[in-house]
Amino acid sequence: MSCFYRIGVALFLLSGMLFAQTTSSDQETIRALVQQVKELQEKVAALEGKQVSVVATNPETKAETPVQPPEEATNAAKGSMFREEHEIRGIQWRGFGEVNYKVLNQRQPELGAFGFVPGSAGNFYVGDFDLYLTSRITDKANVLAEVVIGEGDAQSFDVDLERVLFRYDYNDYFRVSTGRYHTGIGYYNSAFHSGMWVHTMASRPLIMEFADDGGLLPTQAVGVSITGAVPSGSLGLNYLFEYGSSDTIRPNLSGIGETDENNGNHINVGLFARPRAIPGLQVGGSFYHDRISDFQLGPDVRLGQMIVNGHVVYNAHGIEFLNEGFWIRNAYENGGPVYNMPAFYSQFSKRFGPIRPFFRYQYVNTNPNSIYHDDVLLRHGPSFGARYDFNDAIGIKTQLDHTIRKGQPDLDGLQMQLVFAF
């Protein structure tokens, strides 16, 4: 109605103007007013056309209520437009990148992650360039994939499908996904994926390093993962069940050769609590079992691999406090030695505005007689530094590491890392 009112007012003004003395400036004004009237008439015609089309394009509504009130029709159209605008459909892309500068006082060449190779004199590398995509199929089904272009030797790059998952949420108590996933073998592996932007520190803890970067654990697998809440009131229990194939092949830290574990199908079960009384606290653990081969004795010589994890994590009010312990046990199925290997890390950081100082102490002690991880042995030491966030998409980290290694000189490192999300 307001449009008609405005047209009326404009016409009234226009007629008044026509009777007035016609100077050149008046003529210009008249021309402008006529133009305005034309524009308003066009707008009214367009609005009327839209209202008619909204009613006409909904045959069911037309049959039930032949004359839909214009206001209801407009609301329905607005709701539909709102849904179309804000319901996320199609493929959503996100990206994470990093640029690193790393200095080590490494006298005896050893594998470093990413672009470092034993004996390399280079200090810069770009690490992982991470493309993450999600697509909503229905309210309960979606697909996610993570494609990483990772730096290898001498600035060569390879493409790795880190994760690809079809997910279906039946409800809060039963969520199933299938595809390639990061195993829930520890808190860190579930919470932090490839892009270093989401990591507080410049590197993953060694025990949580991806196997293809020299890590010790089966961090990736193809299979089925089921998670959900357990009705437990204020305790806030959640469960995790995974069944899949890890197929871990890890390069030796010496840079010479690699170890193929020839995994079977693993089972990983986990339980953790997020008590309502302490928001941000998570306490839990997991139990992983698989069968692996001793290729030195032959692929048929199998070992049972058991990995037990326990974690206590607090993440709220600017504090991040991560504590995880691991017990890795490899035992020959037909009798023979049993190898036990403990590991843990503790990481603390606190945000002060854009600055987040951090500290981590980590410990790994593998068995020198085991064919697995005999290149790692005892390693422990602190890492500390700070992260500065320029905004919510760009950050820079500086980290100093001191690693005590059994049978080798201590290793000191300085790492600077620019991270960005887009």
Binding site: N75, D169, A191, G195
Partner: protein
């Protein structure tokens, strides 16, 4: 004693009509949902779980759709207070959560209460926080810990 704001009281009375006992709320942030939502009250802990994405479905199976106001508004500040995060942490938290595959998307940030109202009417699982002075018909208020905005002990304050 605070003077009664007639407009505010009238709006709340309209919004509560037929869904919850009337209360003369003077100030505070209300939790509002789609009028078809069968819930009439929610605990503070449960509310936090909704806004950090740990609880993703309503009891009737409808997926939870989170709506927030833009950063710097009273509603947004109340939400940050509820979940115990700063704005930067909130952004990083959701980006990490989406990246971990724990959520399909970040909560939808809307620039006006009018858009929040439209959003709530459009999505049956919608939930948002609204200053009580901006409550309009078409928004159903949930009690928090058994209390309505303005009542003693109501947990969401500006």
């Amino acid at each position: 004693m605070k003077p009664i704001n007639f407009k505010r009281s009238l709006l709340i009375a309209i919004a509560l009509l037929g869904s919850a006992p009337a209360a003369l709320a003077q100030s505070g942030i209300a939790v509002v949902v789609n009028p078809r939502n069968s819930q009439s009250s929610i605990g503070r802990g449960e509310l936090r779980k909704l806004f950090v994405g740990e609880k993703r479905y309503w009891p009737d199976g409808a997926p939870v759709k989170l709506f927030t106001r833009s950063a710097g508004t009273a509603e947004h500040d109340a939400m940050l207070k509820l979940i115990g995060m700063s704005e930067a942490e909130y952004k990083q938290y959701w980006r990490t959560r989406v990246y971990a595959g724990e959520a399909q998307s970040e909560p939808l940030s809307l620039p006006s209460n009018g858009m929040q109202r439209e959003a709530l009417q459009t999505f049956s699982g919608g939930i948002a926080l609204v200053d009580v002075v901006d409550i309009k018909p078409g928004m159903k208020i949930l009690k928090v810990d058994g209390k309505l905005p303005g009542e003693d002990g109501y947990p969401l304050q500006q």
